[in-house]
Amino acid sequence: MELQNLVLIIISSSLVSNVVLSQFLGLCPFLGVSKKIETAAGMGGAVIFVITLASAVTGAIYNFILLPFQITYLQTIVFILVIAALVQFVEMFLKKFMVGLYQALGVYLPLITTNCAVLGVALNNVKYGYDIFTGVINGFATSLGFAVAIIILAGIREKIEENDIPLPFQGMPIVLITAGLMAIAFCGFSGLL
């Protein structure tokens, strides 16, 4: 894989087809954990960590187990179980051996188990036929896009907290409108490719 292709994948996965704003994956944490910049950054960090790791693990399983035995139709079942187990394992591992990191990311990890973005990236890696290394890069870029989007949204939400918003639009509707405007802005990135 040439360097140029990798750069293209990074730009397209993180900005152009942003995981939340254009693919709608991982919306729940995006809307739910974006009240403050600090927690948003924590969530973003946890997502980057888990998705990058999960891309590597699912990529390895796909290439070394599912493909040689020709059981690729089992990918959905295998991936979701592996991801769920992986998140649990990562949580236990961090709790035991890396207390600092656990305190920063720990509370967000259980929230990611059923996050569709993790499974989505794994499935996309297979769909586009990426090898393991490219898949990991794609996973990292995708989750970086998630982190960027959630931190921007949290920043805007901190500002609009003070604004006078019509009663029915308070809470989720105004957040969704904000997200929609951000999605328009991110559409502009498509000129990069």
């Binding site: 704003l21 254009s22 693919q23 709608f24 994956l25 991982g26 919306l27 729940c28 944490p29 809307l31 739910g32 954990v33 139709y73 089992l74 990918q75 959905t76 079942i77 979701i80 179980l81 769920a84 259980p110 929230l111 188990t113 059923t114 996050n115 569709c116 499974l119 989505g120 499935l123 996309n124 769909k127 009663l167 029915p168 639009f169 308070q170 809470g171 989720m172 509707p173 105004i174 957040v175 969704l176 409108i177 997200a179 929609g180 405007l181 999605a183 328009i184 559409c187």
Partner: protein, 228 residues
């Protein structure tokens, strides 16, 4: 069979997964670019939901409590894989349109939520109808959102032109940002109804205001509601 009818009504109207409970928002936004896609996604989910509810209800006394979530996920993922292969074989155009969102039905909170809060506690017939009702409620909601976006964004419904020729389609509504705006409008209407209802002293606690943080909290909310 009264119980079955009650379950259907519950899923379609009283606890409509999209409009009332606000569950499964990822596919709701992603595939509703047209009414056909919305309907296709809704019916696909209905099949998975009904079958998985049935099997989980049958196995409810066999599955140990501690490993119930992974067990549910395996059952759901199996049906999703079956449906995916069937769609690929018989409805390739829908399969292409829905793409990656078919396997992602596995992580749709509605399915795991119903398994956890209904099917794992009730006999098979009501569970089947619970799945069917919830699934149809989801299909109706997705078709409506899809039709709305199609009218605004392309001036068509199910591919037929409905708007006068002078109407200039606002194509942003079939693009990604439009999904957010349509959902924002829907939640605002829902909030408005909730506020008005509370003013009149009705119990509106069933209506969820937007997405929780994730499926885990949603499940806990479901549990709390069951306990009430």
């Amino acid at each position: 069979m009264n119980k079955a009818g009650e379950r259907l009504f519950n899923g379609l109207i009283k606890e409509n997964p999209t409009f009332v409970l606000m569950l499964g928002m990822c596919p709701t936004l992603a595939v509703t670019t047209s009414a056909v896609n919305g309907l296709g996604m809704g019916l696909t989910t209905t099949v998975v939901l009904t079958l998985s509810n049935g099997i989980i209800s049958l196995l409810r006394k066999v599955i140990p409590d501690k490993v119930r979530i992974p067990a549910f996920i395996v059952v759901i993922a199996t049906f999703v894989t079956l449906v995916e292969l069937l769609l690929e074989g018989f409805l390739p155009s829908l399969y292409d349109a829905l793409g990656i969102y078919i396997p992602l039905i596995v992580v749709n909170c509605i399915i795991l939520g119903r398994a956890e809060s209904y099917a794992s506690k009730n006999p098979i017939i009501p569970s089947l109808f619970d799945g069917l009702g919830m699934g149809l409620g989801f299909s109706v909601a997705l078709t409506m959102i899809g039709a709305l976006r199609e009218i605004l964004g392309a001036g068509e419904v199910f591919g037929y032109e409905v708007m006068p020729a002078s109407y200039v389609p606002a194509s942003i509504f079939v693009l990604a940002p439009g999904a957010f705006f349509v959902l924002a409008g829907l939640t605002a209407i829902q909030n408005y109804l909730k506020i008005e209802g509370e003013k009149k002293g009705k119990d509106m606690s069933k209506i969820q205001s937007g997405c929780g943080t994730d499926c885990k909290t949603c499940k806990e909310q479901c549990k709390e509601r069951e306990e009430k």
